[in-house]
Every structure is written in C-alpha cells, then in structure tokens.
Point group: C3
Chain length 162, copies 3
C-alpha cells in the first residue's frame, strides 16, 4: 500500500472512531505529545483559536469518551473527508482535507406501521459542521501517527453559558 | 494502477450504475454467486437483516432494473462514498466505505423565465440515505469482482403495506 | 506518488481555489488552450451546452475572479468530489468525478451571547449544486495540467434577465 493511502486510512479510522465515540481507538491514532486544536474561521483567510489544545492520544481519548455528546436513540453521525492533499517526505507527512459532518436521525416505525404512502429510507440527514483538517503525521515503528491536528471550522461553536 | 485504486474504481462504477438505474452494468460488477444483503441499524453496534439477500450479478441486475424507482423528470441521484478502508491480500480484497445518497430534483424554468432575483443553480438536493458498504472482492481473470456486499443502513426502510 | 493521485490532487487544488475565489491559483491548473464548458442535464442521458466555453487558464482566472459571487460575511463554500474514475495513458489522463457544492453560512454570536440551549457548531450548510466533472489532462514538463474540463450540471442555472 502506498504511503499516501496509509495516511488516508489513518483518517478513515479517525472518522469511524469519532462517529462511534470510540475514544480508545481514536486516541491510539495520535502520539503521546500530539497537539490537537480547533480554530474558528474569523475572515476569508484567518482563523481564531477555540479553547485550549488537547495533548496526546490520552487527551483525545478523554475528550471523545467524555465530552462528545452520545447519539440519541436512532441517531448516527458521519464525519466525511474529501479532496485530500497528502505530502509524504520520508517519515513525515502532511494532510489537508475538506470535511463535512452529517447528523442522522432514524425515524421510528409507528406501532401500527408506516403511514400510507411512506416508502424508502426513513430518516433526517443534516450537514451540521464543515471545514478543513490540517494535520502532520510521523511514521513511528512503521505506523503513521498524528503529531499535530488542527480542525479549521467554518463556523463558531456555541458553549452553553458563554 | 494499484490494487487499492482498482478496488475503489469498482465502487466508482457501482455508484454511477445505480444512479443511472443501469442494471446490466451494475450486475457485471458481481460474481454469479455473490451475496448482496441489506442490514438496518438496530443499536449502537448491531444491525438486523432486511429482506432476503440478492444472489449474483443476475439478481443485482434484476433488482436495479425492476425494483428501483425511476427518477422523475428533472430528477437525479448521487450515491457517494468516502473514507475507504481497503485491504488487499493476494486475489482477495475487503472494502469498507461510508456512503451518503443524495436525491436531486431540478427546478423547471417557468415559460416566462425565472422570477426576478433568481440566480444560480436551480434544484433541491437532499441527503436521503446513509451508512456503510462492507464488501469482499476477488480477482478473477485479472478483474476485481464483488463476491459479498452488505449495505449497512443507518435507518429503517419503509415498504408500503407492511 | 502515483499518477492517479497526482491527477486527483489537481482537483483537490481546483476545489480549494474555487472556494477561495482564487482565480490565479485556479487558472494555473489549466493550459493556455484549455476548453472549459458547462452543460446542463436535459434528459436521462443528454446534456445541453450552457453559454460559451472559457478558453485557457486566463479565461478561468478571469471568470473565478470576476464572475463568481464573493462569499457574504460568515459565508464559505465547499466544492467536493467523490468516486473518481482516473485513466492514465502515458502523458494523457482522463478523470470523471461526482461533485456536490455546499454553501455554508456561519451564524453570528449575538452580542449578549448564544440563546439558552444553543450548543455546538452554528451554521446552515446546504448542498446547492451537483453533477459530474469530466476532464482531460496532459503531463507537460512533469506537471499535470487540465486541457479540457466539462462541468455536467444536474440542474439549470438561472441568469437574471433571461
């Protein structure tokens, strides 16, 4: 497998782990010293930091496990990435990808069946988040690990009480 | 071309064939004994079977040709796949991909022209279906064919009268 | 890096340049004689030309710089591509990709803070455009450049006053 595909697969695992709120699997994609930060778009070419960076796989594991809201019953999400730019230079790599996050809410079949005329997949699917991932990786003992990960959000994030 | 890309292109052909309701092209991507099944998400990590599996390229061709509803006038769809995990082991391969299906309905230009202020592309585009494809392929006479294909749906599917 | 990835990265740069309205970067992806045209879906397998083709990198640069509407404050877009079919034959390549364009509008934090109960990313994200890119590229002095680019739109485009 090419190094570019290996790097891309790190992100294919990242999005699945996030969507399953699997902090352990997600944390294992990062080095112990990795710096993970969120930035919010503040203008055409500028971003502002949001909160403090997470540090290392342990920080990521804690955040995914404890700070991401669980899916409601019938709920799913898909973090999806597109149009990757990947530069591999020896044991270092850089990735930039577009991302969109979808929130999925399955409808529940009424006890007396679907209403007349209802047909096909029953859910609401909404894109709720978008931006870019900008990330450095390093090959350590043959495995690509994330050493810096910046989530460049297109929109502000509301935190209750702020 | 790498084997990983060849496997990915099988799915690039799959989504185009589905969206064009081209059962013949779609069926040709499967072996005669391929098992194609749909499962519906029943909980965070569990799925329930939906209906009976389709068997082989002939079963897929029949279903795409006869059971998928045709697009209305001005209608299109896009089955899209993301964040592929692909493992190739000799003449066997496994693929897992996220998918989202979009339903597109073009608007019709009114006979006396678009209303004042109307500008740009005129359509509604809605994500209507999502989940994962989980698939085994085998290289036969140099070509990758699908031998097992499971569509893991995030949501239930309504069938009229059930 | 494989030629297929190099071709794919031309499009990864194309979508970022479009979304940033960076005509200079976008124009540089095309040869001087490139022919860029838009076609509108007119039926299940037919398209009609829309307007006159743009010619060359200079034509593309002019159009991106002068004819694409700028993003409003808090606005972004994402041109995203999926399920690429890429054929490389020596110094010639052909790409076909699905595309969806998202329009993003960030919400503005009210001066006295987000309303009670508001949580998470604050924006509307809408898919507004979809179709296929169908494109020929040529390797010139080691770099892949676009020589023909056709945007196959699923929907009509409204132009004020027509």
């Amino acid at each position: 497998m090419s190094d570019e595909r290996k790097v891309q697969e790190v992100f294919a695992r990242y999005v699945r782990a996030t969507d399953r709120r699997d902090g352990k699997t997600q944390g294992a994609l990062f080095t112990d010293e990795a710096v993970v930060s969120i930035k919010i778009k503040a203008g055409p070419d500028s971003y502002e930091p949001f909160g403090e960076p997470l540090i290392g796989g342990a920080g990521v594991e804690y955040a995914v496990t404890n700070l991401m809201s669980p899916h409601p019953e019938g709920g799913s999400s898909h973090h999806t990435t597109f149009d990757h730019l990947i530069d591999v230079d020896g044991d270092d790599a850089h990735l930039n990808a577009q991302f969109v996050v979808y929130k999925v809410q399955a409808l529940t079949r009424p006890v007396d069946g679907w209403p007349t005329g209802t047909i096909g997949p029953q859910a609401t699917i909404r894109p709720v988040e978008s931006g870019y991932y900008d990330t450095d990786l390093r090959r350590i003992d043959g495995e690509w690990k994330i050493v810096r990960h910046t989530v460049l959000m297109d929109m502000p994030i509301a935190i209750p009480g702020t």
